[in-house]
């Protein structure tokens, strides 16, 4: 083989391998979605949204789990995102390149990829142990801790995208930075901040590990924030690993619901971001 053909063959082999890797990655996504659809559709019915999680062998739905997940996700966002928003504002508007800001930015990025089970243990130690029992509020706090880094990151990035001229104009009118931030920067960065919220909701609504020993689970309907509360991820975890067919079917249905919700949230966030970028360009 001449040197030239050898180089061409090497090139062809590696490019083919790269194509195969891409196909394999896409195939994994397709296989997971297909499994979810084929197993989950069978379990789809109105009972899911009207009945409680059943005992083994019984008929039932996922109402309490859906409710619990919604409540804890909402509370997690309500607690976590204002903190992330304010902290992101500090980094973008006040701290900038101070040593403190650099440290916070670094720690935030570490928190962003830290294992969520560690956050669960943390909240267990500071809330569950103190209160003496598992509770929905502990679960919501764990989710809030996970939501903070996501909102902080997007808020800072989005505020940095606001044209400097807008900030200067506001300052020239005599407005203090707080006024500029509230009346000029936040409205200008609105869709970006909403994207951050969507991403945060997508991030925390599928989290299982941090809820295992904070909110635990509850087989019954409960609206008491001070008591264990059912939630979709932990129900899926328990039901999928059980030997009972009915429970496994419910787990698949729940898995489908959760995945579709999260994919819709992620796609909307992306669409919003694309619209935002198109707007900037024009």
């Amino acid at each position: 083989m001449t040197r030239r053909t050898r180089r061409k063959v090497t090139n062809g082999v590696f490019l083919a391998l790269s194509l195969i890797a891409t196909m394999a990655g896409l195939a994994c996504l397709a296989a997971i979605l297909w499994t979810l659809l084929s197993n989950g559709i069978a379990g789809m019915s109105w009972h899911l949204f009207t009945q409680m999680t059943p005992p083994p062998g019984g008929q039932g739905g996922l109402l309490n789990a859906l409710y619990g997940s919604a409540v804890m996700t909402l509370l997690g966002i309500l607690i976590g995102s204002p903190i992330g928003l304010l902290a992101g504002t500090y980094l973008a508007e006040y701290g900038r390149d101070s040593r403190l800001s650099i440290a916070i930015r670094f720690i935030n990025d570490v928190l962003l990829s830290a294992p969520s089970i560690i956050i669960g243990l943390f909240v267990y130690e500071i809330v569950v142990v103190r209160m003496g029992h598992f509770s929905a509020i502990a679960g919501a706090l764990a989710l809030a801790v996970l939501a903070i880094p996501v909102t902080l990151r997007t808020t800072e990035d989005m505020l940095n995208l606001v044209p400097l001229g807008m900030k200067d104009s506001s300052a020239a009118l005599g407005a203090y930075p707080w006024r500029t931030t509230l009346s000029v920067l936040y409205p200008a960065a609105r869709s970006g901040i909403v994207t951050g919220l969507l991403l945060a909701v997508a991030r925390i609504s599928g989290e299982t590990a941090p809820l295992l020993f904070t909110a635990l689970n509850n087989q019954f309907w409960s609206t008491d924030l001070n008591a264990p509360m059912a939630n979709l991820p932990v129900v899926i975890f328990q039901f999928a690993l059980s030997p009972y067919k009915d429970w496994q079917d419910l787990a698949w249905a729940g898995a489908l619901i959760i995945t579709v919700t999260i994919l819709i949230l992620s796609i909307s966030a992306r669409v919003l971001l694309a619209l935002l970028q198109a707007e900037r360009r024009s």
């Binding site: 994994c28 296989a31 902290a87 560690i118 707080w178 590990a209 295992l212 999928a240 994919l263």
Partner: protein
Amino acid sequence: MAIIDPGHAAKQLIYERVFRSATLAAAILVLLILGGVFVSLLRGSWPALSHFGFSFVTREIWNPVTDEYGALAPIYGTVVTSVIAMLIAVPAGFGIALFLTELCPPLLKRPIGVAVELLAAVPSIIFGIWGLFVLAPLLQRHVQPWLIEHVGHLPLVGPLFKGPPFGIGILTAGMVLAIMVLPFIAATMRDVFDTVPPMLKESGYGLGATTWEVMWNVVVPHSRVGIVGGIMLGLGRALGETMAVTFVIGNAHRISSSILAPGTTISSAIANEFTEAVGDLYTSSLIALGLLLFLITFTVIAAAQAMLRRLERRGFAVA
């Protein structure tokens, strides 16, 4: 005529101070959370650490009946599953990034990029039940018997593929982890490759280099730091991943020479046993496992961030 109202200015200044302090407090809270995680884990694990001392990380025993705990088996499982995951995901992620930056028709670039990123959005519990009900039976029926028969006799690597095909186990967990971290590695590498100045690549092509030669001799050396950063970021995820592993690892507290055997990892041991743990020493040992995981992942992720940050100064946004 505008009159400057001193009361108004004073009020504005107060608002400004309040707002500024609120943002500063929120920012400092982020630091406090990380500090709080460390302190609370240290406190929670103190009974176990003071009771077992350093032998906690060197002993394999894990016996709730005699109340003796050692972390060696979970540490081993965590490391081995992550290594398997990286062995699969790094070349695959590199391939995807190569495809997206050099080969992909522009029309498909966005859809495929988004699809890869959506894979990252799928919650880990979904990977878990998919791994348990789809991947594990598939491996058990088709892949593992073949491995046992053909690779199991070979010298050196043979012992890794011995024993019955369980389906679930270290290998399956590593493969599920590989699929989970693949999008992170691929997306980071793609972003890093995009920062390579087109001029450099064009020079390579101008000299008559093939696509692969430009990739390997121009793009890769130029983006070395970013590639390693992306790999470490993926490694950090793999080490700490919990639910997906918990489903398929088999939860056996022992170290087997075969990667087809069930095992345990730090995170899956905590997830499986924490709510059932009775006795202070048991709970404390599990929290000590959490502390170990925290220290390991913190080191890996911090190193990854530090590397990617060096790139960021060259105009690259960390994913």
